[in-house]
């Protein structure tokens, strides 16, 4: 009986996670196109309609997906057939796998058992994320290499160099956070962000590690290959970079992977630095404001508020990715390398040192 219960819970969590991430892809494709249009004083997509409804162009991603699904599945001459086919899978799978350790809600009690609202509550959470997200570059490199074409190869090379540079800063920028919260398990990091700092400010990662947050934000943008770090695609220089030779649904999978990377990046930022599903001053019983004010809320409402908070944070940071894309131009390649090695790396090392020093002074090294 308990085995069946565990199975049902696991399958349900995986289903919810997949449905959440995959359904966000068309929404953010739409938000990207419509947002870009409004930022650039255009109207954006508004033609595709079902039964006379356009919903502000929301059907365009659907039409795109259908179109790509029905196109010829093409493999260019001279391409490495196996690697060429594998590359989109390597791009998509790590992006989806990363989401597995992100808690999207507080633990709930179902039939007398505590169920964590995350696919896998790994005790090595952050390490797992780095291990898996490091793999996502293989998709890009394989695509660039297997296409047997010069621009994809350049895109793949750029991606690998960029990933190596920014993976370092990404990893080091988290160390400070791990030192503060004393855990790499994501559910514990989120739980400890529910307390208050000096009784006023929520103890979110962004308040205890402001520099770490900035470094992490920049590094995540670079890891997700989003503007201003979208050199692997760099339309103005290398046609479309690593996916130049891809068409039909293989291209669509690269496209989905990019947006899932964005969603995962947003979820990571929200989880590590903005309290995950925590709502400021919201305890299990209701709101407890610092002035001693209290507002009781039923447990179910608190639960949905917290899940809503997580979804809202993910939406905000995914929108930030889009917003930044239409604000900042792409870096030149040497600028990317300079920023990665000469700015982010020393700053993240300094951040670790200062965090350690402060922790030593406060806790006396306990």
């Amino acid at each position: 009986m308990s085995g069946l219960f565990d199975l049902v819970v696991s399958v349900a969590r995986v289903a919810v996670m997949l449905a959440f991430t995959l359904s966000l892809v068309p929404i953010f494709v739409w938000a990207e196109r419509k947002g870009a249009a409004y930022i650039q004083d255009r109207r954006g997509p508004n033609r595709a309609r079902i039964l006379g409804l356009t919903l502000g162009g929301l059907f365009h991603p659907l039409a795109d997906a259908l179109k790509l699904l029905f196109k010829e599945d093409f493999i260019p001459d001279g391409a490495h057939r196996l690697f060429y086919q594998m590359a989109p899978m390597f791009a998509l799978a790590p992006a989806l796998m990363t989401f597995a350790v992100i808690p999207f809600g507080p633990p709930v009690e179902i039939a007398g058992r505590v169920v964590a609202l995350q696919v896998a509550d790994l005790n090595v959470g952050i390490l797992y994320i780095f291990a898996i997200s490091g793999m996502s570059v293989y998709g890009v490199i394989l695509a660039g290499w297997a296409s047997n074409s010069k621009y994809p190869l350049l895109g793949g090379l750029r991606a690998s160099a960029q990933m190596i540079s920014y993976e370092v800063a990404l990893g080091l920028s988290i160390i400070g956070l791990v030192m503060v919260f004393r855990s790499v398990r994501l559910s514990e990091i989120v739980a400890s962000q529910g307390t208050l700092l000096w009784g006023i400010v929520p103890k979110w990662g962004v308040f205890v590690q402001p520099l770490g947050f900035l470094l992490f934000l920049v590094a995540v943008f670079a890891e997700a290959n989003r503007t201003p770090f979208d050199l692997p695609e760099g339309e103005s220089e290398i046609v479309a970079g690593f996916h130049t030779e891809y068409g039909s649904f293989k291209f669509s999978i690269f496209f989905m992977a990019e947006y899932i990377h964005m969603v995962v990046g947003a979820a990571l930022i929200a989880t590590l630095f903005f309290g995950g599903w925590q709502v400021p001053y919201l305890a299990d019983s209701g709101f407890l404001l610092p002035g001693g004010l209290a507002l009781g809320l039923p447990g179910a409402l608190v639960f949905f508020l917290r899940i809503g908070a997580f979804v809202g944070k993910v939406f905000f940071f995914a929108w930030l990715f889009i917003w930044v894309r239409w604000t900042i131009p792409r870096f030149r390649y040497d600028q990317v390398m300079r920023l990665g090695w000469k700015v982010l790396l020393p700053l993240s090392l300094a951040n670790i040192f200062v965090t350690g020093l402060v922790l030593l002074l406060i806790d006396g090294g306990a």
């Binding site: 947002g35 409004y38 930022i39 650039q40 004083d41 109207r43 917003w323 930044v324 604000t327 900042i328």
Partner: protein
């Protein structure tokens, strides 16, 4: 002789705060968000024209698609003199003349086809016409069709415009 030294304008050196980029990026985000909110609130101010539904109103002297004029009794004003087809640099006008039943008029066009695929919209036909039978004042442009045949306009289509 003194060599003229030209001073090339260089961008001014960035201050410390600017070279950190943080505040500048926030300002940029503010600008783009301002555009976004303004365009969502005042959609009517977006310059984009919803083309097939909304057409631009052309100035009165715009040379658009041709039309043939009619006399008060409804017959075409054209007398099949071939002036327009002679003047046409693209050789896109085909006229077949026939004898008019009206004794006061010598000829009338049995066929008057304009191949819109060849027309260069120069307006020489309009200038050449001695009886103001052909005009280009419809204000329409970019004929788009699925077949080439539909773009050869016959006399009936030209008289209707």
């Amino acid at each position: 002789m003194v060599i003229g030294v030209k001073k090339v304008a260089r961008p001014r050196k960035m201050s410390g705060g600017e070279s950190l980029y943080l505040l500048e990026i926030l300002k940029g985000l503010g600008v783009t968000m301002g555009h976004l909110l303004r365009n969502i609130r005042h959609q009517e101010n977006i310059a984009t024209m919803e083309y097939p539904e909304v057409r631009r109103v052309m100035p009165p002297r715009f040379r658009g698609l041709h039309r043939l004029m009619k006399r008060p009794d409804g017959t075409p004003r054209c007398v099949a003199c071939f002036c327009c087809s002679t003047a046409c640099p693209a050789v896109c006008i085909t006229i077949v003349a026939g004898e008019s039943p009206d004794p006061s008029i010598e000829k009338y066009p049995v066929r008057f086809d304009i191949d819109m695929l060849r027309c260069v919209f120069c307006g020489h036909c309009v200038e050449a016409c001695p009886c103001d039978a052909i005009r280009m004042d419809t204000g329409w442009f970019t004929p788009a069709e699925h077949t080439r045949e539909k773009l050869i306009y016959t006399i009936d289509m030209l008289l209707e415009k």
